[in-house]
């Protein structure tokens, strides 16, 4: 009996210590220089995270990222937020993402999801689609489509998350 319990305990210990912390799916996509990037590595030292799905050919997506780029520095100072801009450009326009982003002068962490693997895993239907995560990687809020001025509402939510307040819908 003792042996069985001991064995069981050991098995539980082993399995659980390998459990995933964040609830983001683990999908291999790419960073801008072509290296494999696993999405479970999306982290920000316990501070809020934004994952923004976009594409170079999507006008509202670019508008949204442009609007946020104007105030990103202030947002970072205020809340410590980090933005991951995940491009779903496929191999037709994927190589164009780096020059596109740099010409705009965006400071986001840009990732490439050319076969929409991460997009599908996150159940995104259309771009733009924004997720707000708290420091533990838990999805607090998501939003699809972009209207001018949406970024102000997003900032309010980030502030709440940064302070650890509840976000109501």
């Amino acid at each position: 009996m003792k042996k069985i319990v001991l064995l069981l305990s050991a098995v539980i210990l082993f399995n659980l210590s390998h459990a995933q912390e964040s609830n983001l799916p683990s999908v291999n996509i790419k960073s801008l220089n072509g290296k494999v990037f696993n999405t479970s590595d999306i982290k920000n030292d316990g501070k809020p995270i934004i994952i923004d799905f976009w594409a170079t050919w999507c006008k509202p997506c670019v508008k949204e990222l442009e609007a946020i780029a104007d105030v990103y520095e202030e947002w970072q100072e205020e809340t410590g937020v980090k933005i991951y801009a995940v491009s779903i450009d496929n191999s037709r326009s994927m190589a164009r993402v780096a020059p596109f982003v740099n010409a705009k002068g965006w400071e986001y962490v840009v990732l490439l999801d050319p076969n929409s693997k991460f997009k599908e895993a996150m159940n995104v239907v259309n771009v733009p689609h924004v997720f707000l995560l708290d420091g533990t990687g838990k999805i607090i809020h998501q939003h699809t489509a972009y209207s001018d001025g949406d970024e102000d509402d997003l900032l309010e939510l980030i502030k709440k998350v940064a302070k650890g307040e509840e976000v109501s819908h």
Partner: protein, 550 residues
């Protein structure tokens, strides 16, 4: 002593269980997408009312994750399928379902349905694009391993989705991605990544006349080198003899080469691309056509246009043979500079072109493209005589003040109707030449109230001749928008075809839900997403679209 140790281990395991239990609880996520359209008869624009009057495409996705395990399914309903979608979709069911295991040590296994891409997709890419009714999902087994530093390995054996069933062919493939710097621990600024893949398909030969290869193999190699703002990447693919309906059952190998080079620094982006494709159609059923059972995806070299009239004449890769090149420069004039103004100005110029490849007879006795023979020979660097497509665009994007933003663009396009569509225009012209102008003006009236105007003009002596288009969109963030657009074919040579295509749309958005209602006429055309195109028939009626994620 033993007892104490035993109790200690037991308690600590329970304690850990309590702590980690929360972290491994399961998560259910998903999304819905419903498109309903009501149709009116409108013989003038060629819109027919189907016998059902109302048609619907609907999708529901569910994914459940629990620790290292995940599973999911997609329900689809086409009752009946919207016009422009293949009626073979009519019906409903669960065509997509999978179970997957992915551990922290880098091992992943998926059984059931999945999507996959090797490299740029030259020899393997499965994906779905609902807008196009495109879905060549695999059904089988896939394994991947990323446990070795800098190495990413994948392998699969599967069949492919064909509407509500799977195709006859079996696809086997392996792919490896190697980050040289990580493997050899080179701590240099220059990063080198290499990759290679091999794909083979099997389909029985039941042809009474020809002796067809039952196993067809394709291999590809790729490399990308980056250093600071520079990056060069290339992929080459080769395919063994693969007589098919696409190539007219010729016994010739296939080849493809893609080279991309980019340079960028803050405020400047340069993008160059060149490509050659020869006999690279690759399907898991050699008899299939259109968008069915493609194993590979040969990326299109043309720029993706989002403005309606700029996208009037889209181009799609000619997998049987094409040579193309593209160049684009994006530049941002600095804020507060003489030319940049207070907010800076973005400028861009882009050019893309594609030609046929040069073909010569493979032998003195057989003509080009004769069924059952080698078909033709083609020198790698020789460009064919026939222009398929060319597209020049230049423009600027500028924030004028806190309230006003403007986007100006000019385009010049040449489209070979004869070669690409197998048709001539109304007066027997092979090639359409079009000048296009676009003005997009955004006025932020006050916080969260925005008015956007779009004016577009397309000027051509061929096809349906001149078009003008206007759009007015009023947005009340965060929830509502209303838009009216009108495309007017004022220059059509048939005076009774000088028609207004007018549509009114209202949309509501909240969190991850979006609902849009539209009423009006839309023109016949081709919509392309990511290089795959679908012909959309003219419609007149009411449409409702709902998307939601949870």
């Amino acid at each position: 002593m033993k007892k104490i140790l035993f109790i200690a281990i037991f308690l600590s395991s329970i304690f850990t269980f309590a702590q980690v239990k929360d972290a491994i609880k399961g998560h259910l996520h998903g999304n819905f997408n419903i498109d309903v359209q009501q149709y009116n008869e409108d013989s003038l624009i060629g819109a027919n009312k189907p016998p059902e009057s109302i048609l619907m495409n609907a999708y529901g996705n569910f994914t459940y994750t629990y620790g290292n395990f995940s599973g999911g399914l997609r329900y689809e309903a086409y009752l009946n399928s919207l016009k422009g979608y293949d009626p073979s979709y009519n019906g409903q069911g669960i065509p997509y379902k999978y179970l997957s295991y992915q551990n922290k040590k880098g091992l992943g296994v998926t059984v059931g349905n999945f999507y996959e891409q090797f490299g740029s997709g030259f020899i393997l890419r499965s994906y779905q694009q609902r807008m196009l009714g495109y879905d060549n999902a695999f059904e089988g087994v896939r394994a991947s391993y990323t446990g070795i530093r800098g190495v990413n390995l994948k392998g699969l054996i599967a069949k492919q989705r064909l509407f509500w069933t799977t195709g006859v062919g079996i696809v086997r493939g392996i792919d490896g991605d190697f980050s040289i710097n990580d493997i050899f621990k080179f701590d240099t600024k220059t990063q080198v990544i290499m990759g290679g893949s091999f794909v083979s398909k099997y389909q029985a030969d039941k042809n009474p006349v020809l002796k067809l290869p039952e196993n067809v193999g394709a291999g590809a190699g790729r490399i990308s080198i980056s250093n600071g703002g520079f990056m060069v990447s290339s992929e080459y693919a080769y395919k063994s003899q693969d007589p098919s309906a696409d190539n007219g059952y010729i016994y010739k190998n296939g080849e493809a080469l893609l080279i991309n080079a980019t340079y960028s620094q803050k405020g400047l982006g340069v993008y160059l691309s060149a490509k050659r494709v020869d006999n690279m159609s690759f399907r898991s059923d050699r008899g299939q056509a259109i968008n069915n059972l493609n194993i590979n995806y040969v990326a299109d070299i043309s720029k993706i246009h989002t403005y309606t009239l700029a996208a009037m004449y889209p181009y799609a890769t000619q997998t049987n043979g094409e040579m193309g090149a593209r160049a684009e420069i994006m530049y941002k004039l600095k804020k507060k500079s003489f030319l940049g103004g207070k907010y800076g100005t973005e400028l861009f110029v882009s050019y893309a072109t594609a030609y046929d490849i040069k073909r010569t007879p493979a032998s003195d006795t057989s003509a080009i493209g004769v069924k059952g023979y080698e078909g033709y020979e083609s020198k790698f660097f020789e460009i064919g005589d026939e222009l398929f497509y060319s597209d020049f665009s230049a423009g600027l994007h500028k924030k004028l003040s806190k309230k006003f933003k403007v986007h100006l663009e000019y385009l010049y396009q040449e489209i070979n109707f004869d070669k690409l569509r197998g048709e001539l225009d109304h007066s027997g012209n092979k090639v359409v030449f079009a000048n296009i102008g676009i003005i997009d003006f955004t006025w932020k009236i006050k916080s969260k109230r925005t008015l956007r105007f779009e004016f577009q003009g397309l000027f051509t002596k061929q096809d349906k001749q001149d078009w003008a288009m206007g759009l007015l969109e009023y947005t009340m963030a965060p929830h509502w928008f209303i838009a009216v657009y009108d495309a007017y074919n004022y220059g059509n040579h048939h005076s009774d075809m000088r028609i207004h295509y007018t549509t009114v749309s209202v949309g509501y958005m909240k969190n991850s839900t979006r609902i849009q209602l539209s009423y009006g006429k839309s023109m016949e055309g081709v919509i392309c997403v990511g290089g795959v195109c679908r012909v959309v028939p003219a419609t007149n009626g009411l449409s409702l679209s709902i998307t939601s994620s949870f």
